[in-house]
Protein backbone atom coordinates (compact mmCIF):
# COMPACT_ATOMS: atom_id res chain seq x y z
CA UNK A 1 0.00 0.00 0.00
CA UNK A 2 1.53 3.35 -0.99
CA UNK A 3 2.27 5.63 1.88
CA UNK A 4 0.29 8.86 1.82
CA UNK A 5 2.37 11.89 0.99
CA UNK A 6 3.23 14.10 3.89
CA UNK A 7 1.36 17.39 3.63
CA UNK A 8 4.54 19.43 3.33
CA UNK A 9 5.51 17.50 0.20
CA UNK A 10 2.87 19.29 -1.82
CA UNK A 11 2.92 22.72 -0.22
CA UNK A 12 4.99 25.48 -1.82
CA UNK A 13 8.18 26.43 0.01
CA UNK A 14 7.86 29.72 1.85
CA UNK A 15 10.22 31.55 -0.47
CA UNK A 16 7.89 30.82 -3.40
CA UNK A 17 4.69 32.03 -1.78
CA UNK A 18 3.54 35.54 -2.55
CA UNK A 19 4.31 36.69 0.97
CA UNK A 20 7.74 35.10 0.77
CA UNK A 21 8.48 36.79 -2.54
CA UNK A 22 7.29 40.15 -1.26
CA UNK A 23 9.47 39.86 1.82
CA UNK A 24 12.42 38.63 -0.22
CA UNK A 25 12.15 41.35 -2.79
CA UNK A 26 11.73 44.19 -0.33
CA UNK A 27 13.58 42.89 2.71
CA UNK A 28 15.93 45.86 2.78
CA UNK A 29 13.00 48.27 2.76
CA UNK A 30 11.28 46.39 5.58
CA UNK A 31 14.55 46.32 7.46
CA UNK A 32 14.93 50.07 6.95
CA UNK A 33 11.42 50.76 8.27
CA UNK A 34 11.91 48.39 11.21
CA UNK A 35 15.17 50.07 12.08
CA UNK A 36 13.49 53.48 12.01
CA UNK A 37 10.78 52.29 14.39
CA UNK A 38 13.37 50.96 16.83
CA UNK A 39 15.57 54.08 16.67
CA UNK A 40 12.46 56.21 17.19
CA UNK A 41 12.34 54.74 20.70
CA UNK A 42 16.05 54.43 21.45
CA UNK A 43 17.39 57.63 19.92
CA UNK A 44 16.19 60.98 21.23
CA UNK A 45 15.70 63.31 18.28
CA UNK A 46 15.98 60.51 15.74
CA UNK A 47 12.41 60.55 14.50
CA UNK A 48 12.35 64.16 13.36
CA UNK A 49 12.13 65.74 9.93
CA UNK A 50 15.32 67.71 10.50
CA UNK A 51 17.23 64.55 11.40
CA UNK A 52 15.96 62.69 8.33
CA UNK A 53 16.88 65.67 6.23
CA UNK A 54 20.35 65.56 7.73
CA UNK A 55 20.74 61.85 7.11
CA UNK A 56 20.02 62.30 3.42
CA UNK A 57 22.08 65.49 3.08
CA UNK A 58 25.08 63.76 4.65
CA UNK A 59 24.50 60.72 2.42
CA UNK A 60 24.69 62.77 -0.80
CA UNK A 61 28.14 61.46 -1.69
CA UNK A 62 27.16 57.87 -0.87
CA UNK A 63 24.08 58.22 -3.07
CA UNK A 64 26.08 59.48 -6.05
CA UNK A 65 28.67 56.73 -5.64
CA UNK A 66 25.99 54.06 -5.25
CA UNK A 67 24.29 55.16 -8.48
CA UNK A 68 27.68 54.88 -10.19
CA UNK A 69 28.37 51.46 -8.71
CA UNK A 70 24.90 50.20 -9.66
CA UNK A 71 25.65 50.54 -13.36
CA UNK A 72 29.07 48.93 -13.08
CA UNK A 73 27.82 46.05 -10.94
CA UNK A 74 24.94 45.30 -13.32
CA UNK A 75 27.48 44.75 -16.11
CA UNK A 76 29.18 42.23 -13.82
CA UNK A 77 32.05 44.56 -12.94
CA UNK A 78 33.09 46.57 -9.93
CA UNK A 79 34.61 50.04 -9.64
CA UNK A 80 37.04 50.31 -6.74
CA UNK A 81 38.33 53.70 -7.84
CA UNK A 82 35.25 55.85 -7.09
CA UNK A 83 36.45 56.99 -3.66
CA UNK A 84 39.80 58.24 -4.92
CA UNK A 85 38.44 59.66 -8.18
CA UNK A 86 36.22 61.69 -5.90
CA UNK A 87 39.27 62.88 -3.98
CA UNK A 88 41.03 63.74 -7.23
CA UNK A 89 38.10 65.84 -8.49
CA UNK A 90 37.73 67.53 -5.13
CA UNK A 91 41.38 68.55 -4.83
CA UNK A 92 41.79 69.49 -8.49
CA UNK A 93 38.69 71.70 -8.42
CA UNK A 94 39.93 73.34 -5.22
CA UNK A 95 43.50 73.74 -6.47
CA UNK A 96 42.31 75.42 -9.65
CA UNK A 97 39.99 77.75 -7.74
CA UNK A 98 42.79 78.74 -5.38
CA UNK A 99 45.30 79.24 -8.21
CA UNK A 100 42.87 81.30 -10.29
CA UNK A 101 41.86 83.25 -7.18
CA UNK A 102 45.47 84.36 -6.72
CA UNK A 103 45.42 85.88 -10.22
CA UNK A 104 42.56 88.13 -9.17
CA UNK A 105 39.89 86.40 -11.26
CA UNK A 106 36.26 87.01 -10.26
CA UNK A 107 34.69 84.47 -7.94
CA UNK A 108 31.82 83.29 -10.16
CA UNK A 109 34.15 82.55 -13.07
CA UNK A 110 36.77 80.71 -11.03
CA UNK A 111 34.08 78.63 -9.33
CA UNK A 112 32.67 77.63 -12.71
CA UNK A 113 36.13 76.81 -14.09
CA UNK A 114 37.14 74.83 -11.01
CA UNK A 115 33.88 72.91 -11.05
CA UNK A 116 34.26 72.09 -14.74
CA UNK A 117 37.83 70.94 -14.25
CA UNK A 118 36.79 68.70 -11.37
CA UNK A 119 33.98 67.16 -13.41
CA UNK A 120 35.97 66.72 -16.61
CA UNK A 121 39.07 65.21 -15.03
CA UNK A 122 36.89 62.40 -13.68
CA UNK A 123 36.26 61.08 -17.19
CA UNK A 124 39.94 60.19 -17.59
CA UNK A 125 40.26 57.39 -15.00
CA UNK A 126 36.90 56.00 -16.18
CA UNK A 127 38.05 56.02 -19.77
CA UNK A 128 41.27 54.24 -18.84
CA UNK A 129 39.67 51.55 -16.66
CA UNK A 130 36.86 51.06 -19.19
CA UNK A 131 39.38 50.61 -22.00
CA UNK A 132 41.42 48.19 -19.91
CA UNK A 133 38.32 46.16 -19.09
CA UNK A 134 36.79 46.19 -22.56
CA UNK A 135 39.72 46.02 -24.95
CA UNK A 136 42.50 44.48 -22.90
CA UNK A 137 40.26 42.13 -20.90
CA UNK A 138 41.75 43.25 -17.60
CA UNK A 139 39.43 42.12 -14.78
CA UNK A 140 37.47 45.16 -13.51
CA UNK A 141 38.77 44.57 -9.99
CA UNK A 142 42.36 45.01 -11.17
CA UNK A 143 41.73 47.77 -13.71
CA UNK A 144 39.93 49.96 -11.18
CA UNK A 145 42.37 49.03 -8.42
CA UNK A 146 45.05 50.50 -10.67
CA UNK A 147 43.07 53.74 -10.93
CA UNK A 148 42.48 53.57 -7.18
CA UNK A 149 46.21 53.89 -6.61
CA UNK A 150 46.98 56.30 -9.43
CA UNK A 151 44.18 58.75 -8.54
CA UNK A 152 45.15 58.68 -4.90
CA UNK A 153 48.78 59.40 -5.75
CA UNK A 154 47.92 62.34 -7.98
CA UNK A 155 45.48 63.65 -5.35
CA UNK A 156 48.14 63.60 -2.64
CA UNK A 157 50.54 65.34 -5.00
CA UNK A 158 47.90 68.06 -5.58
CA UNK A 159 47.53 68.65 -1.85
CA UNK A 160 51.23 68.56 -1.03
CA UNK A 161 51.05 65.44 1.04
CA UNK A 162 48.17 65.40 3.44
CA UNK A 163 47.01 69.01 3.49
CA UNK A 164 43.44 69.78 2.48
CA UNK A 165 43.30 72.70 0.08
CA UNK A 166 41.89 75.76 1.83
CA UNK A 167 41.42 79.40 0.90
CA UNK A 168 38.40 78.93 -1.32
CA UNK A 169 35.56 81.42 -1.83
CA UNK A 170 33.36 81.45 1.26
CA UNK A 171 30.27 81.33 -0.90
CA UNK A 172 30.96 77.64 -1.65
CA UNK A 173 29.85 76.10 1.66
CA UNK A 174 26.89 78.46 1.74
CA UNK A 175 25.78 77.06 -1.61
CA UNK A 176 26.58 73.48 -0.65
CA UNK A 177 24.80 73.66 2.67
CA UNK A 178 22.03 76.06 1.68
CA UNK A 179 18.34 75.35 1.97
CA UNK A 180 15.38 76.16 -0.18
CA UNK A 181 13.19 77.33 2.71
CA UNK A 182 14.11 79.17 5.91
CA UNK A 183 11.35 79.58 8.43
CA UNK A 184 11.66 81.67 11.59
CA UNK A 185 8.64 80.55 13.54
CA UNK A 186 6.05 83.28 13.66
CA UNK A 187 8.54 85.82 12.37
CA UNK A 188 9.63 85.33 8.80
CA UNK A 189 9.89 83.05 5.81
CA UNK A 190 12.64 83.33 3.21
CA UNK A 191 13.72 81.41 0.14
CA UNK A 192 17.33 80.32 -0.66
CA UNK A 193 19.03 82.27 2.17
CA UNK A 194 18.50 82.97 5.83
CA UNK A 195 16.95 86.29 6.83
CA UNK A 196 19.69 88.90 7.33
CA UNK A 197 18.69 89.77 10.91
CA UNK A 198 19.69 86.31 12.12
CA UNK A 199 23.48 86.05 12.61
CA UNK A 200 25.32 82.81 11.75
CA UNK A 201 25.59 81.66 15.36
CA UNK A 202 21.81 81.83 15.85
CA UNK A 203 21.02 79.90 12.66
CA UNK A 204 19.72 76.96 14.68
CA UNK A 205 16.68 78.98 15.69
CA UNK A 206 15.50 78.68 12.11
CA UNK A 207 13.63 75.77 10.64
CA UNK A 208 15.53 75.00 7.47
CA UNK A 209 13.85 72.77 4.93
CA UNK A 210 14.93 71.11 1.66
CA UNK A 211 18.71 71.40 1.39
CA UNK A 212 20.10 72.23 -2.06
CA UNK A 213 21.73 68.82 -2.02
CA UNK A 214 18.23 67.32 -2.43
CA UNK A 215 17.95 68.98 -5.81
CA UNK A 216 21.25 67.46 -6.90
CA UNK A 217 20.27 64.04 -5.53
CA UNK A 218 16.84 64.24 -7.11
CA UNK A 219 18.21 65.22 -10.51
CA UNK A 220 20.95 62.59 -10.53
CA UNK A 221 18.68 59.78 -9.35
CA UNK A 222 15.96 60.72 -11.82
CA UNK A 223 18.31 61.00 -14.80
CA UNK A 224 20.14 57.76 -14.07
CA UNK A 225 16.95 55.92 -13.16
CA UNK A 226 15.66 56.91 -16.57
CA UNK A 227 18.86 55.82 -18.31
CA UNK A 228 18.93 52.45 -16.55
CA UNK A 229 15.28 51.51 -16.67
CA UNK A 230 13.80 53.33 -19.64
CA UNK A 231 16.50 53.66 -22.25
CA UNK A 232 18.19 51.37 -24.72
CA UNK A 233 21.49 52.06 -22.96
CA UNK A 234 20.08 50.63 -19.72
CA UNK A 235 18.64 47.60 -21.49
CA UNK A 236 22.05 46.87 -23.01
CA UNK A 237 23.66 47.28 -19.59
CA UNK A 238 21.43 44.51 -18.23
CA UNK A 239 22.03 42.34 -21.30
CA UNK A 240 25.82 42.59 -20.95
CA UNK A 241 25.62 41.53 -17.32
CA UNK A 242 23.09 38.79 -18.04
CA UNK A 243 24.85 37.13 -20.96
CA UNK A 244 27.88 38.73 -22.52
CA UNK A 245 27.81 36.43 -25.57
CA UNK A 246 24.16 37.15 -26.19
CA UNK A 247 24.85 40.87 -26.08
CA UNK A 248 27.75 40.56 -28.53
CA UNK A 249 25.78 38.37 -30.93
CA UNK A 250 22.80 40.71 -30.74
CA UNK A 251 25.08 43.34 -32.24
CA UNK A 252 25.59 45.45 -29.12
CA UNK A 253 28.97 47.15 -29.22
CA UNK A 254 29.95 45.75 -25.85
CA UNK A 255 33.44 47.25 -25.74
CA UNK A 256 32.17 50.76 -26.33
CA UNK A 257 29.34 50.25 -23.89
CA UNK A 258 31.71 49.16 -21.12
CA UNK A 259 33.96 52.16 -21.67
CA UNK A 260 30.88 54.38 -21.35
CA UNK A 261 29.82 52.58 -18.15
CA UNK A 262 33.17 53.15 -16.43
CA UNK A 263 33.25 56.77 -17.62
CA UNK A 264 29.74 57.27 -16.26
CA UNK A 265 30.76 55.78 -12.93
CA UNK A 266 33.87 57.91 -12.78
CA UNK A 267 31.94 61.04 -13.73
CA UNK A 268 29.51 60.50 -10.85
CA UNK A 269 32.49 60.07 -8.53
CA UNK A 270 33.82 63.38 -9.86
CA UNK A 271 30.45 65.00 -9.24
CA UNK A 272 30.60 63.71 -5.68
CA UNK A 273 34.09 65.21 -5.33
CA UNK A 274 33.00 68.62 -6.57
CA UNK A 275 29.95 68.50 -4.33
CA UNK A 276 32.31 67.74 -1.47
CA UNK A 277 34.13 71.02 -2.17
CA UNK A 278 30.81 72.87 -2.00
CA UNK A 279 29.81 71.02 1.16
CA UNK A 280 33.02 71.54 3.13
CA UNK A 281 34.51 74.63 1.50
CA UNK A 282 37.91 72.93 1.10
CA UNK A 283 39.50 70.45 -1.30
CA UNK A 284 39.62 67.10 0.44
CA UNK A 285 41.77 64.11 -0.38
CA UNK A 286 40.09 60.78 0.34
CA UNK A 287 41.46 58.98 3.36
CA UNK A 288 42.11 55.26 3.14
CA UNK A 289 39.92 54.56 6.14
CA UNK A 290 36.83 56.11 4.55
CA UNK A 291 36.32 53.14 2.17
CA UNK A 292 33.73 54.95 0.07
CA UNK A 293 33.94 52.37 -2.70
CA UNK A 294 33.26 49.45 -0.38
CA UNK A 295 30.29 51.13 1.28
CA UNK A 296 28.92 51.96 -2.17
CA UNK A 297 29.25 48.32 -3.22
CA UNK A 298 27.63 47.27 0.06
CA UNK A 299 24.69 49.61 -0.50
CA UNK A 300 24.16 48.32 -4.03
CA UNK A 301 24.29 44.68 -2.93
CA UNK A 302 21.92 45.32 -0.01
CA UNK A 303 19.69 46.97 -2.61
CA UNK A 304 19.37 43.69 -4.47
CA UNK A 305 22.17 43.70 -7.04
CA UNK A 306 24.38 40.71 -7.62
CA UNK A 307 28.13 40.94 -8.14
CA UNK A 308 27.67 38.30 -10.85
CA UNK A 309 25.92 40.95 -12.92
CA UNK A 310 22.57 41.32 -14.63
CA UNK A 311 20.74 42.41 -11.50
CA UNK A 312 20.23 45.65 -9.63
CA UNK A 313 17.98 48.67 -9.57
CA UNK A 314 18.51 52.36 -8.86
CA UNK A 315 15.71 52.49 -6.29
CA UNK A 316 17.08 49.37 -4.60
CA UNK A 317 20.52 50.92 -4.34
CA UNK A 318 18.97 54.04 -2.81
CA UNK A 319 17.29 51.89 -0.18
CA UNK A 320 20.70 50.29 0.38
CA UNK A 321 22.32 53.69 0.95
CA UNK A 322 19.55 54.68 3.35
CA UNK A 323 19.91 51.43 5.30
CA UNK A 324 23.61 52.19 5.87
CA UNK A 325 23.01 55.90 6.55
CA UNK A 326 20.13 55.37 8.99
CA UNK A 327 22.07 52.62 10.72
CA UNK A 328 25.03 54.96 11.27
CA UNK A 329 22.89 57.89 12.41
CA UNK A 330 20.51 55.84 14.54
CA UNK A 331 23.23 53.91 16.34
CA UNK A 332 25.12 57.12 17.05
CA UNK A 333 22.02 58.90 18.39
CA UNK A 334 21.17 55.86 20.49
CA UNK A 335 24.64 56.03 22.02
CA UNK A 336 25.82 52.67 20.71
CA UNK A 337 29.57 52.17 20.26
CA UNK A 338 30.58 52.99 16.66
CA UNK A 339 32.20 49.60 15.99
CA UNK A 340 28.79 47.96 16.22
CA UNK A 341 27.97 49.60 12.91
CA UNK A 342 30.72 47.72 11.09
CA UNK A 343 29.47 44.44 12.51
CA UNK A 344 25.93 45.31 11.42
CA UNK A 345 27.08 46.17 7.89
CA UNK A 346 28.92 42.85 7.68
CA UNK A 347 25.87 40.92 8.82
CA UNK A 348 23.59 42.80 6.40
CA UNK A 349 25.87 42.13 3.44
CA UNK A 350 25.97 38.43 4.16
CA UNK A 351 22.22 38.41 4.57
CA UNK A 352 21.78 40.22 1.25
CA UNK A 353 23.77 37.58 -0.59
CA UNK A 354 21.83 34.75 1.05
CA UNK A 355 18.56 36.39 0.01
CA UNK A 356 19.93 36.72 -3.50
CA UNK A 357 20.63 32.98 -3.58
CA UNK A 358 17.18 32.11 -2.23
CA UNK A 359 15.35 34.24 -4.78
CA UNK A 360 17.23 33.89 -8.04
CA UNK A 361 14.42 35.36 -10.09
CA UNK A 362 13.61 38.46 -8.09
CA UNK A 363 14.41 42.08 -8.92
Amino acid sequence: MPRPLMPHDTSTPFVQTNTGKLLGRHWALFFLLGMMVIFAFTGPGFFEVVNFQNIIHLATISILLAVAETFVIITGGIDLSVGFVMGLSSTLAARIMVTLGSTGMGEPLLIVLGTLAGLLVAFIPGFISGTLVARFKVPPFIATLGMWGICNGITLHLCDGFLPIAGLPSVLPRLGNGYLFYIHKGQSFTLFKKPDYIPDERVRELIRLVPFSFILIGAVVLVFWFILHKSRFGQHTYAIGGNLDAAIRAGIDVDRHLVKIYMLSSFLAGLAGVFNVFQTGIGNYTTFSSMYELFAVAAVVIGGASLLGGKGRIVGSMVGVLVLAVLKNGLAISGVQPFVRYIAVGVLLTFAVIIDQLFPDLF
Binding site: F226, G242, N243, D245, G251, I252, G310
Partner: protein, 250 residues
Protein backbone atom coordinates in the same frame (compact mmCIF):
# COMPACT_ATOMS: atom_id res chain seq x y z
CA UNK B 1 19.23 26.53 -59.59
CA UNK B 2 18.11 29.44 -57.50
CA UNK B 3 19.77 28.74 -54.19
CA UNK B 4 18.90 31.27 -51.51
CA UNK B 5 22.33 30.77 -49.95
CA UNK B 6 25.25 29.11 -51.65
CA UNK B 7 28.94 28.53 -51.08
CA UNK B 8 31.32 28.02 -53.99
CA UNK B 9 34.62 26.36 -53.24
CA UNK B 10 35.07 27.94 -49.82
CA UNK B 11 38.16 27.02 -47.85
CA UNK B 12 39.25 27.93 -44.35
CA UNK B 13 42.66 27.20 -42.91
CA UNK B 14 43.79 27.59 -39.32
CA UNK B 15 47.56 27.54 -39.51
CA UNK B 16 48.49 24.23 -41.08
CA UNK B 17 45.05 22.74 -40.62
CA UNK B 18 42.52 22.98 -43.44
CA UNK B 19 39.26 22.99 -41.51
CA UNK B 20 37.03 23.44 -44.54
CA UNK B 21 38.39 22.38 -47.91
CA UNK B 22 36.82 23.65 -51.13
CA UNK B 23 33.20 23.12 -50.10
CA UNK B 24 30.36 23.96 -52.46
CA UNK B 25 26.81 23.63 -51.23
CA UNK B 26 23.51 25.44 -51.40
CA UNK B 27 20.11 25.71 -49.77
CA UNK B 28 16.83 26.48 -51.53
CA UNK B 29 14.10 28.62 -50.02
CA UNK B 30 11.77 26.41 -48.03
CA UNK B 31 14.32 23.62 -47.81
CA UNK B 32 15.97 22.05 -44.78
CA UNK B 33 19.54 20.92 -45.34
CA UNK B 34 21.27 18.92 -42.64
CA UNK B 35 25.03 18.98 -42.36
CA UNK B 36 26.36 15.81 -40.80
CA UNK B 37 29.85 14.73 -39.96
CA UNK B 38 31.98 13.45 -37.14
CA UNK B 39 33.59 15.80 -34.64
CA UNK B 40 36.21 17.88 -36.40
CA UNK B 41 34.72 17.30 -39.84
CA UNK B 42 34.41 21.05 -40.39
CA UNK B 43 30.66 21.54 -39.92
CA UNK B 44 30.98 24.34 -37.40
CA UNK B 45 33.65 26.16 -39.35
CA UNK B 46 31.47 25.97 -42.46
CA UNK B 47 28.45 27.53 -40.78
CA UNK B 48 30.61 30.09 -39.02
CA UNK B 49 31.75 31.31 -42.42
CA UNK B 50 28.15 31.56 -43.59
CA UNK B 51 27.19 33.44 -40.43
CA UNK B 52 30.09 35.88 -40.74
CA UNK B 53 32.15 34.72 -37.76
CA UNK B 54 35.07 33.45 -39.88
CA UNK B 55 36.16 34.88 -43.20
CA UNK B 56 36.84 32.26 -45.88
CA UNK B 57 40.40 32.11 -47.24
CA UNK B 58 39.13 31.12 -50.67
CA UNK B 59 35.81 30.84 -52.45
CA UNK B 60 32.65 32.90 -52.39
CA UNK B 61 29.36 32.97 -50.53
CA UNK B 62 26.31 33.95 -52.54
CA UNK B 63 23.02 35.20 -51.18
CA UNK B 64 20.16 35.07 -53.70
CA UNK B 65 22.77 34.41 -56.38
CA UNK B 66 24.75 37.55 -55.58
CA UNK B 67 28.28 37.23 -54.15
CA UNK B 68 28.74 39.00 -50.83
CA UNK B 69 31.45 39.76 -48.34
CA UNK B 70 30.63 39.04 -44.72
CA UNK B 71 32.95 41.03 -42.51
CA UNK B 72 31.21 40.30 -39.24
CA UNK B 73 28.20 38.49 -37.75
CA UNK B 74 26.39 41.83 -37.99
CA UNK B 75 26.77 41.79 -41.78
CA UNK B 76 25.19 38.36 -41.86
CA UNK B 77 22.30 39.50 -39.67
CA UNK B 78 21.77 42.57 -41.82
CA UNK B 79 21.49 40.26 -44.84
CA UNK B 80 18.89 38.03 -43.20
CA UNK B 81 21.23 35.20 -42.20
CA UNK B 82 20.34 34.30 -38.62
CA UNK B 83 22.19 31.75 -36.54
CA UNK B 84 20.94 29.97 -33.46
CA UNK B 85 23.86 28.56 -31.55
CA UNK B 86 23.64 25.64 -29.19
CA UNK B 87 23.76 27.95 -26.17
CA UNK B 88 20.97 30.08 -27.71
CA UNK B 89 22.55 33.40 -26.69
CA UNK B 90 19.61 34.66 -24.67
CA UNK B 91 20.00 37.05 -21.76
CA UNK B 92 18.44 35.03 -18.95
CA UNK B 93 17.83 38.07 -16.78
CA UNK B 94 15.66 39.77 -19.41
CA UNK B 95 12.12 38.92 -20.42
CA UNK B 96 10.93 37.27 -23.61
CA UNK B 97 10.20 40.37 -25.65
CA UNK B 98 13.40 42.10 -24.52
CA UNK B 99 15.31 39.13 -25.85
CA UNK B 100 13.47 39.08 -29.16
CA UNK B 101 14.32 42.75 -29.59
CA UNK B 102 17.80 42.60 -28.01
CA UNK B 103 20.17 44.98 -29.75
CA UNK B 104 17.34 46.25 -31.96
CA UNK B 105 15.03 47.69 -29.32
CA UNK B 106 12.09 49.80 -30.41
CA UNK B 107 11.93 53.20 -28.78
CA UNK B 108 9.36 55.93 -28.88
CA UNK B 109 9.62 59.66 -28.37
CA UNK B 110 8.53 60.84 -24.98
CA UNK B 111 8.16 64.51 -24.01
CA UNK B 112 9.48 65.37 -27.45
CA UNK B 113 13.14 64.70 -26.70
CA UNK B 114 13.62 61.43 -24.85
CA UNK B 115 13.82 58.04 -26.52
CA UNK B 116 12.00 55.63 -24.24
CA UNK B 117 11.86 51.86 -24.70
CA UNK B 118 8.50 50.99 -26.20
CA UNK B 119 7.73 47.86 -24.20
CA UNK B 120 4.11 47.83 -25.27
CA UNK B 121 5.01 47.67 -28.95
CA UNK B 122 7.71 45.06 -28.37
CA UNK B 123 5.37 42.86 -26.34
CA UNK B 124 2.65 43.10 -28.97
CA UNK B 125 5.02 42.23 -31.81
CA UNK B 126 6.58 39.40 -29.80
CA UNK B 127 3.16 37.99 -29.06
CA UNK B 128 2.23 38.06 -32.73
CA UNK B 129 5.38 36.27 -33.89
CA UNK B 130 4.95 33.65 -31.16
CA UNK B 131 1.33 33.18 -32.20
CA UNK B 132 2.32 32.86 -35.83
CA UNK B 133 4.67 30.02 -34.91
CA UNK B 134 2.06 28.59 -32.50
CA UNK B 135 4.43 28.86 -29.55
CA UNK B 136 2.84 28.98 -26.14
CA UNK B 137 4.58 31.08 -23.53
CA UNK B 138 2.36 32.14 -20.63
CA UNK B 139 3.75 35.62 -20.04
CA UNK B 140 6.16 37.63 -22.13
CA UNK B 141 7.12 39.50 -18.99
CA UNK B 142 8.72 36.38 -17.53
CA UNK B 143 12.47 36.29 -17.65
CA UNK B 144 14.14 33.63 -19.78
CA UNK B 145 15.41 32.01 -16.58
CA UNK B 146 11.88 30.83 -15.78
CA UNK B 147 11.38 29.09 -19.14
CA UNK B 148 12.01 25.47 -20.11
CA UNK B 149 14.69 24.48 -22.61
CA UNK B 150 12.15 24.07 -25.40
CA UNK B 151 10.56 27.43 -24.69
CA UNK B 152 13.99 29.06 -24.78
CA UNK B 153 14.73 27.42 -28.11
CA UNK B 154 11.37 28.71 -29.33
CA UNK B 155 12.19 32.24 -28.20
CA UNK B 156 15.54 32.08 -30.01
CA UNK B 157 13.77 30.87 -33.16
CA UNK B 158 11.07 33.54 -32.90
CA UNK B 159 13.73 36.19 -32.61
CA UNK B 160 15.28 35.09 -35.90
CA UNK B 161 11.93 34.89 -37.61
CA UNK B 162 10.80 38.26 -36.37
CA UNK B 163 13.87 39.84 -37.95
CA UNK B 164 12.97 38.42 -41.35
CA UNK B 165 15.47 35.62 -41.59
CA UNK B 166 15.92 34.36 -45.14
CA UNK B 167 18.37 31.76 -43.96
CA UNK B 168 18.30 30.16 -40.55
CA UNK B 169 21.28 28.22 -39.28
CA UNK B 170 20.65 25.96 -36.29
CA UNK B 171 23.47 24.35 -34.37
CA UNK B 172 22.26 21.21 -32.55
CA UNK B 173 18.74 22.58 -31.99
CA UNK B 174 17.49 19.58 -30.02
CA UNK B 175 20.63 18.58 -28.13
CA UNK B 176 19.67 19.80 -24.67
CA UNK B 177 15.93 19.08 -24.83
CA UNK B 178 13.57 16.46 -23.44
CA UNK B 179 11.70 14.15 -25.83
CA UNK B 180 8.45 16.14 -25.93
CA UNK B 181 10.32 19.40 -26.43
CA UNK B 182 12.46 17.91 -29.21
CA UNK B 183 9.28 17.09 -31.08
CA UNK B 184 7.96 20.63 -30.62
CA UNK B 185 11.14 22.15 -31.97
CA UNK B 186 11.09 19.81 -34.97
CA UNK B 187 7.48 20.79 -35.63
CA UNK B 188 8.58 24.39 -35.47
CA UNK B 189 11.30 23.74 -38.04
CA UNK B 190 8.71 22.17 -40.34
CA UNK B 191 6.45 25.19 -40.03
CA UNK B 192 9.36 27.55 -40.77
CA UNK B 193 9.99 25.55 -43.92
CA UNK B 194 6.47 26.29 -45.18
CA UNK B 195 7.21 30.00 -44.70
CA UNK B 196 9.92 29.86 -47.34
CA UNK B 197 12.99 30.09 -45.13
CA UNK B 198 16.14 28.21 -46.06
CA UNK B 199 17.30 26.21 -43.06
CA UNK B 200 20.67 24.66 -42.30
CA UNK B 201 20.77 22.25 -39.37
CA UNK B 202 23.77 20.73 -37.72
CA UNK B 203 22.78 17.74 -35.66
CA UNK B 204 24.09 14.49 -34.32
CA UNK B 205 20.61 13.08 -33.87
CA UNK B 206 20.00 10.94 -36.92
CA UNK B 207 16.30 10.71 -36.05
CA UNK B 208 15.88 14.50 -36.14
CA UNK B 209 17.64 14.74 -39.44
CA UNK B 210 15.43 12.17 -41.12
CA UNK B 211 12.37 13.75 -39.53
CA UNK B 212 12.82 17.29 -40.86
CA UNK B 213 15.57 17.48 -43.47
CA UNK B 214 15.08 17.35 -47.23
CA UNK B 215 18.72 16.91 -48.07
CA UNK B 216 21.79 15.73 -46.22
CA UNK B 217 25.34 16.92 -46.75
CA UNK B 218 28.02 14.72 -45.25
CA UNK B 219 31.35 16.25 -44.37
CA UNK B 220 34.54 14.42 -43.63
CA UNK B 221 37.97 15.99 -43.00
CA UNK B 222 36.80 19.37 -44.21
CA UNK B 223 35.34 18.14 -47.45
CA UNK B 224 31.81 17.77 -48.68
CA UNK B 225 31.94 14.04 -49.40
CA UNK B 226 28.34 13.33 -50.26
CA UNK B 227 24.94 14.91 -50.79
CA UNK B 228 21.84 12.74 -50.46
CA UNK B 229 18.12 13.40 -50.68
CA UNK B 230 16.56 12.12 -47.48
CA UNK B 231 13.91 10.30 -49.49
CA UNK B 232 16.59 8.32 -51.32
CA UNK B 233 18.89 7.27 -48.51
CA UNK B 234 18.95 5.35 -45.25
CA UNK B 235 20.44 6.03 -41.86
CA UNK B 236 22.89 3.18 -42.41
CA UNK B 237 24.22 4.71 -45.59
CA UNK B 238 24.64 8.10 -43.89
CA UNK B 239 26.47 6.61 -40.92
CA UNK B 240 28.72 4.80 -43.35
CA UNK B 241 29.48 8.04 -45.13
CA UNK B 242 30.20 9.87 -41.91
CA UNK B 243 32.72 7.33 -40.65
CA UNK B 244 34.14 6.72 -44.11
CA UNK B 245 33.34 3.03 -44.55
CA UNK B 246 30.87 3.66 -47.38
CA UNK B 247 32.36 4.15 -50.83
CA UNK B 248 31.68 7.67 -51.90
CA UNK B 249 29.60 8.04 -55.01
CA UNK B 250 29.17 11.62 -56.05
Amino acid sequence: MGYIIETRGITKRFGGLTAVDNVSMGVNAGEVVAILGDNGAGKSTLIKMISGVHKPDEGTILLDGKPMKLESPMDALANGIETIYQDLALAENLNVSSNIFLGREKTKRSLGVLNVLDHEYMQKESRSVLDRLEIEIPSLKNTIRTLSGGQRQAVAISRSIYWQAKVLIMDEPTAALGIAEQKKVLDLVKSLKTQGIGIIIISHQMYDVFEVADRIIVMRRGQNVATRMVSETTADEIVGLIVGSETVKR
